[in-house]
């Protein structure tokens, strides 16, 4: 299972709508632009957002002797994507499944997709600490799983759920790579007044309490949402956005210890 995959990173959050899929996509693109081969697996079966975010909605998955061929977002085949969204007939179709079926589907995603040799596999998850998470954790734990990135927004309501996710990681032995705070503040485009719509500082204080690395604050920037929807990387297209800087730093943090500690592959 996943034999050609060098590193696995999980993107988790107890809370929904905090930007797990956006962070997964931006991280995947940032890694790709640093010269790595990247895979992106969406295990959110009831609400797959990745195909839309990468503008791959109309694409199909094909079968080859080695398994399912993922959808590639670019010509050079450096970013491979797999999601249940590619398998649905209409965008309105609901996947009304209980746990055992979801378990089987995720198991199939993990075993049957022919990723070929990729440096990083990023796994985007639904909110919660239930079937999908248990299944992914059980299968990934024994592989080269680097760990999990926790995404949160600053409000106490979100932090509360993310603390539960942290407990999940600790109980199941998944290392936590760090926490990233999304939607920190909104800078008004007219008067440049920064409003903390969802308050601020929650991610940092969570990192302090739980003693985990803090990977950065991502402010609200409507341009990022729009660029993501147009399948462009904010890292390349909006170099002055603070979001870009956060992801550049994050790639540095994530790639550094690993490239040194293991076989030193995929140097840029």
């Amino acid at each position: 299972m996943l034999s050609g995959v060098k590193h696995i990173i999980l993107v988790l959050s107890g809370k929904g709508g905090v930007g797990k899929s956006t962070v997964s996509v931006l991280l995947a693109i940032a890694l790709k632009e640093c010269g790595y081969k990247v895979g992106l697996l969406d295990v959110d079966l009831c609400g797959p957002s990745i195909p839309y975010l990468l503008n791959l909605q109309e694409k199909d998955v094909h079968q080859c002797p080695q398994g399912w061929v993922p959808v590639y977002s670019d010509q050079d085949q450096n970013l491979a994507v797999m999601s249940i969204g590619f398998l649905l007939k209409s965008k309105n179709d609901a996947v009304v499944w209980r746990g055992p079926k979801k378990h089987a589907m995720i198991k199939q995603f993990l075993t049957d997709v022919y990723w070929q040799d990729i440096d990083y596999l990023i796994i985007d998850t639904p909110p919660g600490t239930s079937d999908e998470h248990i299944t992914v954790m059980e299968n990934v734990r024994s592989l080269n799983c680097d760990g999990a990135i926790l995404v949160t927004t600053p409000q106490a309501v979100a932090i509360e759920d993310v603390r539960k996710e942290l407990t999940f990681c600790r109980k199941t032995g998944i290392p936590v790579l760090g926490v990233i705070e999304n939607m920190s503040g909104f800078v008004c485009p007219t008067c440049s007044e920064c409003t903390n719509i969802f308050s601020s500082g929650g991610g940092q204080s969570l990192a302090n309490i739980a003693d985990i690395p803090f990977l950065g604050c991502v402010p609200i920037d409507p341009r990022v949402g729009q660029s993501v929807e147009k399948e462009q990387s904010c890292v390349a297209k909006i170099p002055d956005s603070p979001v870009t800087a956060v992801f550049k730093d994050m790639v540095k943090i994530l790639t550094k210890p690993i490239a040194g500690a293991e076989d030193g592959t995929a140097e840029t």
Binding site: S49, V96, V157, P222
Partner: protein
């Protein structure tokens, strides 16, 4: 395969199956006798228990959304507070069936409260004289505790919440759900449909990423026959507190919730603006509608509230 219990042996044929208790996988299973006698077949006894308990509840409203973080719990709390404040003779309750991420205790300002057991069931936590709350958050010993459960255990918990909480006589029961279209939603639908569910209110934010998931939720409601009361759009526009410029933080590139509701033939109940004071009020668990009566959010919500009440009454008359 939906009737396979959580701790069943491998290859369990399922308790509802014709061959329950009779195949080789059943050898050694402690429930083999019950299964082979046929007692486990037939409808879930929980359905009847829920129906009995729900007889004293007039309107049962599900708050749904395929997408997370769109404000289901916030809207639930506003709706319940609004309903309770409008008429002190009206009894309102909130049931939070988000098992993995219960937010209602914090939003309602009853964090750290305990649930007590009495002869007639679990007593909910009271926020006002006519407003009570039940959530799994009250049953956890620490805020860090994670509920790491697969579906069948969540199903059991929801059945208990629906059948064993001593609500008394209620006018409105507002049920807050987790995002998705899976175990929690199927269980709630299964139990409540036979108990006279009034309908579901679908929450969304204006951008396409959220609408994508919300369309799936509407498809889910149609598949399992949940009546739809309407769609509410949350976080529609943000007004800068300094210069009053309006910015769409979650831009409605595809026409927003109004267009989606129109396309899918669902009533559109209204649109609520984004107000940072509401986020703070939820974190502190205070009553936003009373504390900030001049907010555009409060004004828009009060208008919406009358529409929701009207929709409920109409669906009862039909």
């Amino acid at each position: 395969m939906e009737d396979v219990p959580a701790e069943a042996p491998e290859h369990c044929p399922g308790t509802q199956s014709e061959s329950a208790g009779k195949v080789s996988a059943c050898q050694g299973c402690p429930n083999q006798l019950i299964c082979s006698s046929g007692a486990a077949r037939g409808p879930d006894p929980g359905i009847e228990l829920v129906r009995k308990r729900m007889e004293s509840v007039k309107y049962k409203i599900l708050i749904l959304s395929g997408k997370g973080g769109v404000g289901k719990s916030t809207f639930t709390s506003l709706l319940a507070r609004g309903l309770a404040a409008a008429d002190s003779d009206r009894n309102v309750a909130i049931l939070d069936i988000d098992i993995c991420g219960p937010s209602v205790p914090r939003v309602m300002g009853v964090l750290g409260e305990q649930v007590h057991q009495s002869g007639s069931g679990w007593s909910p936590v009271y926020v006002e004289d006519n407003l009570s709350v039940m959530s799994i958050g009250f049953l956890l010993s620490s805020p860090d505790d994670a509920i790491i459960w697969r579906g069948p255990k969540k199903n059991g918990m929801i059945r208990q919440f629906l059948s064993e909480v001593d609500w008394g006589v209620l006018d409105y029961l507002v049920i807050d759900t987790p995002p998705g279209t899976s175990d929690e939603h199927l269980s709630a639908a299964q139990y409540l449909l036979s108990a006279g569910l009034t309908g579901a209110i679908i929450l969304t934010t204006p951008h396409e990423v959220a609408l994508l998931d919300v369309r799936k939720e509407i498809d889910f409601c149609r598949k399992v026959n949940i009546p739809l009361l309407g769609v509410v759009e949350n976080m529609a526009a943000f007004v800068c507190p300094k210069c009053k410029t309006e910015t769409a933080i979650f831009p409605a590139n595809t026409g927003g919730a109004t267009k989606m509701a129109e396309e899918l033939g669902v009533p559109f109940l209204g649109s609520l603006p984004l107000d940072s004071r509401l986020a703070r009020s939820c974190d502190e668990g205070t009553n936003f509608l009373i504390d900030v009566p001049d907010s555009p959010m409060t004004v828009a919500f009060n208008k919406l509230l009358t529409d929701v009440v009207k929709a409920c009454e109409e669906s009862r008359n039909n």
